[in-house]
Assembly symmetry: C2
Homo-oligomer: 212 residues x 2
DNA sequence: GGACTAAAGTTAGCATCTCTAACATGGATT
DNA sequence: AATCCATGTTAGAGATGCTAACTTTAGTCC
């Protein structure tokens, strides 16, 4: 097997004794977070699941917060990819592209509520994590791109930025509310697609008229 | 002193030896959550702050989750009150009333980001907590009431419910995004009031036209 | 007033967790 | 082959969650 790519783009070291423990720990923690909630995980349990001693993780991560940051980072990559893919599957510049991005977002939240909450609930060791900050902005960038295409404006146009942010706020809030009161949705059943299309239409409808 | 009301509506027991430890613990935990993040609190530290032994809290709360639920419950009461007050300060049925409720929400998130996150991030012991569930719906009720007044429809009208939910989603998402990337707002400075007014106008503008 | 009861607090202690220190091992480089 | 260092191990200190068993105090009933 001539593939020397034992560096999965995360760290240039990850396949010595164990296989690659780092990735396996992140997977284990992801599972724990999903099973027992964002704070219901322990380094010890993750190590146990990965079949190593409880001290092994500290060779890969400084402390428990850094492990969580690893999970978040990986999750944001997947979220970003999902958003891009959703947009790419629709005609460029279409309203459907915007709605599809939103749906991908909601779907992610629904599929992995624990991780989703973790991504947007990190505060402990998250203070100065420029990489995560940048990944977040990168996700917003997907929305901005689609909105810009739809409005036929430059992505840097403040009008584009504003509307993209509004859309993101809505989708973000909807996702959170959705996973919070999972079954007990006060507003009855909601067809997400119709819903997102309607919002997108409403927010992107009227032409640029900033007057503040 | 003929007042036998030593039951402060929370529990019929709360003023023996210590004063009332229960409330004091909740206050302490609130401070800890605000200072060190939602999961950066410990029962031991809270007890220390209240000046009691580390086992004392368990006379008032079953476990750590129940303490958090207490904090959340108290916070939701305050949030609800703030929303009501904001609405009451504006003309009934006005767009300003709707926007004011949203502003109160955002202000709460900004003032107590840790607690805010806790309120909407609880998952551990939150599973079956009908009281919290009900308080959440009660908050939504404030929005519904204002929207119904604005549209001159009955609060039970599905159109009202839908638009109120949309508005809440947006405000909720905005609040979260705001406290997440606190200083680093991509979309530059935002005048919340103008912002909320614009959204409210957009969402409540067109007349009822459900066609799904 | 004095004895009983139960609430509210204390100390002691077990199991668990985080993280560090000191040691062991085995791949990769030279 | 010798060496180095990443990666793992065990041992252990310190802190935490929570329980058990005991003590203190306030209210109640006679």
């Amino acid at each position: 097997m001539p593939d020397e790519t034992h560096a999965p783009a995360v760290t240039p070291k990850a396949a010595y004794h164990h296989g690659d423990l780092r990735a396996q720990l992140i997977t284990a923690v992801r599972g724990l977070v999903e099973a027992h909630g964002p704070d219901g995980f322990s380094v010890a349990e993750a190590a146990r699941r990965a079949g190593v001693s409880s001290a092994a993780p500290y060779k890969h991560f400084k402390d428990r917060h850094e492990i969580l940051r690893g999970v978040v980072s990986e999750a944001m990559d997947r979220l970003h990819a999902a958003m891009e893919a959703a947009a790419a599957a629709q005609p460029a510049g279409s309203l459907d592209a915007v709605a599809a991005i939103g749906l991908a977002y909601v779907d992610f939240a629904r599929a992995e509520p624990g991780v989703f909450r973790l991504v947007f609930g990190l505060t402990e060791g998250h203070e100065n994590a420029p990489d995560l900050q940048q990944k977040g902005e990168s996700c917003l960038g997907v929305v901005v791109k689609a909105v810009a295409a739809r409005l036929d404006l430059h992505p840097n146009d403040p009008e584009v930025q504003r509307r993209a942010y509004i859309l993101w706020s809505f989708v973000h809030g909807h996702s959170f509310l959705h996973i919070d009161m999972k079954t007990k949705v006060t507003t009855a059943e909601i067809d997400d697609w119709e819903y997102l299309m309607e919002i997108s239409r409403a927010i992107l409808a009227q032409a640029a008229r900033s007057q503040s």
